[in-house]
């Protein structure tokens, strides 16, 4: 069996009224957020290619963006269409790989939110390392806030012990074909409550290893986040 091939998979399926409004295309400093995020993966030698998944309507303009910012990428950045949900997008990535490399090649995905441009080299490196060693990896930070559990959104059902609570970040790393198999076997109602990829493995009884994230690895969700990010940039 050939050595496991490791791919960066950037999930840029976030939609918006216009491309300028979609968070992954907003400018941070003098580059779009998506470009910053791809750059963090681009310098990792162990990553065969970086697969970027974005809405079909923006494929062409994203392609132009890649040519502008990565003129020497030599086919290392590959674009394809995202799906309707996060996991459907990942499934598209798996299908894309099947076409390119067949089903027998071991492929590890390091999937990452396109709107987390502050991910560090170490986090990506440890995801690759643990992924090759343990299979499935989730990036987390200890929860700094107390998490409150409420079943009816009106009253507290319970307050879990904070020291065993973590906040999920990305990357999430896993073998591509294992994801496809487990995900496709899930019932539609199970699929409906998935918020991330690691849950697919947890629900199927697979062990998911933790990688240490960082506070700075923020997700740019609100306009406020972009302002915070801008304020941390050295002029």
């Amino acid at each position: 069996m050939a050595e496991t091939m490791v791919f960066g998979v950037i999930l840029a399926g976030g939609d918006g009224q216009s491309m300028e409004q979609a968070k992954q295309y907003q400018m941070l400093g003098n580059k779009p957020v998506l470009v910053h995020t791809i750059e963090k993966f681009y310098i990792h030698k162990r990553l065969e290619k970086i697969l970027v998944l974005c809405p079909k309507k923006w494929l062409d303009s994203t392609q132009n963006m890649m040519e502008q910012y990565f003129p020497k990428s030599n086919g290392r950045i590959v674009l394809t269409e995202s799906g309707t949900t996060r996991n459907e997008t990942i499934l598209n990535a798996v299908r894309f790989m099947e076409k390119q490399y067949g089903l027998t090649q071991d492929i590890l995905f390091v999937t990452h939110d396109s709107v987390r441009p502050f991910v560090s080299y170490r986090i990506i490196e440890e995801n690759i390392e643990y992924g090759l060693k343990y299979g499935v990896v989730d990036t987390v930070i200890p929860s700094s806030d107390t998490i409150v559990y409420s079943e009816d959104a009106a009253k507290i059902t319970s307050v879990p012990k904070r020291s065993i609570m973590y906040q999920g970040q990305t990357p999430q790393t896993f073998p591509a074909f294992m994801f496809k198999k487990l995900y496709q076997d899930m019932k539609e109602e199970e699929k409906a409550v998935l918020t991330d990829a690691c849950k697919v493995f947890v629900l199927n009884g697979e062990k998911v290893h933790l990688a240490e994230g960082e506070n700075a690895n923020i997700k740019i969700t609100y306009p406020y986040d972009l302002k915070v990010a801008e304020s941390l940039m050295i002029p």
Partner: protein, 341 residues
């Protein structure tokens, strides 16, 4: 590419900031691996520099001694994965007479701009020197300090008169120890005497011909030339002792940094016709010479490993503070940060 920079913003306080590294520019992107703390970093960390200096320099990433790994090279000079020593001096002009480390226009990491406490450092290819895997990277981390000694010894070779029967080194700290190791290697036929205050430290100079306590130097002892590696408040006493024990037309190489002006017995400098020259920092040629000596005389790396003090893994800002605090309480030795950011 967004790059995390860990800057000192006030005494004992580090904060993150982000720079944007241009992947298309003709530069090499290096990930620091082992960083070594210097007295100069400590003076900023503890806020021991004058307040106006602190105001002018901070916020700034500290550390100018380190070894790293190439992760991306748009210039094609290095392979990714190569271990490289990072040169902190950045010349901005060429001069055929004056060395790069003395050009007033040169910039210096962790003094004129951000040092190596960063996720990645973008550097010109000529500011990096490859080392092979046989060299201990923990030792390679403080090559900058070592290259300052090598620089001073190379200048000594061109400045000092040719009678080099006995050379004395004043100072039994890190700088004295490093200078002694390299002097021994570069001038194996010269008798080497070490002058210090601490018997325990002096006993580490096993490769020297003799060691002396500065309170107990035989009155008739003479050296042909001397290196001052003391610095600080004891500089004056060391220089005065050197002047007493040096032969006529001898050369005194000053390496110790002092915050205050030091009075010197100029009458005796004139009578003996002495030459006093100062050395500070180093340039690319000194790094190349130092690394060549690591490779040709591997025992040097072994001797240098004797002065490695604490080694601390750095994953968080709290770890950075811990490393600097540990470094304050050491008696001798270099504190090394195993950089995992």
């Amino acid at each position: 590419m967004l790059n995390t920079v860990y800057r000192l913003v006030a005494p004992r306080r580090f904060e993150v900031a982000f720079s944007d590294i241009d992947l298309e520019a003709r530069q090499v992107i290096v990930r620091p691996a082992y960083l070594s703390i210097c007295h100069a970093d400590q003076r900023y960390y503890q806020g021991a520099r004058p307040i106006e200096v602190m105001k002018q320099k901070l916020p700034m990433a500290l550390i100018h001694e380190g070894v790293g790994e190439v992760v991306y090279d748009a210039t094609g000079t290095f392979q990714s994965g190569d271990s490289v020593i990072m040169i902190p001096n950045i010349p901005t002009e060429q001069d055929n007479v004056i060395a790069e480390n003395y050009l007033r226009s040169s910039k210096f990491r962790a003094s004129s701009f951000d040092g190596f406490m960063q996720e990645h450092v973008a550097m010109a290819p000529d500011r990096l020197v490859s080392i092979d895997s046989s060299v201990d990277k923990v030792v390679a981390a403080f090559t900058e300090l070592v290259s300052v000694s090598v620089h001073a010894i190379r200048r000594f070779a061109t400045i000092a008169h040719s009678r080099r029967g006995v050379v004395g080194i004043w100072g039994d700290g890190n700088l004295g120890y490093i200078t002694a190791i390299f002097f021994r290697t570069m001038f194996p036929d010269t008798r080497l005497y070490i002058f210090g205050v601490n018997q325990e430290k002096l006993s580490q100079f096993s490769f020297a011909d003799e060691t002396f306590s500065v309170t107990d130097i035989p009155p008739d002892l003479l050296v042909d030339h001397a290196f001052e590696c003391v610095g600080g408040e004891a500089s004056q006493r060391a220089i005065s002792q050197i002047i007493d024990h040096i032969g006529p037309e001898g050369t005194i190489s000053l390496l110790g940094v002092s915050e205050y002006p030091v009075p010197i017995n100029t009458r005796m400098v004139l009578e003996k016709g002495l030459r006093i020259f100062g050395s500070s920092r180093s340039g690319r040629d000194d790094f190349l010479k130092t690394v060549a000596l690591y490779h040709s005389h591997p025992e040097i790396v072994g001797y240098l490993s004797n002065i490695v003090g604490a080694q601390l893994e750095i994953r968080t800002i709290a770890d950075m503070n811990k490393a600097f605090e540990t470094d304050i309480h050491k008696s001798i030795g270099k504190t090394i940060m195993i950089w995992n950011k």
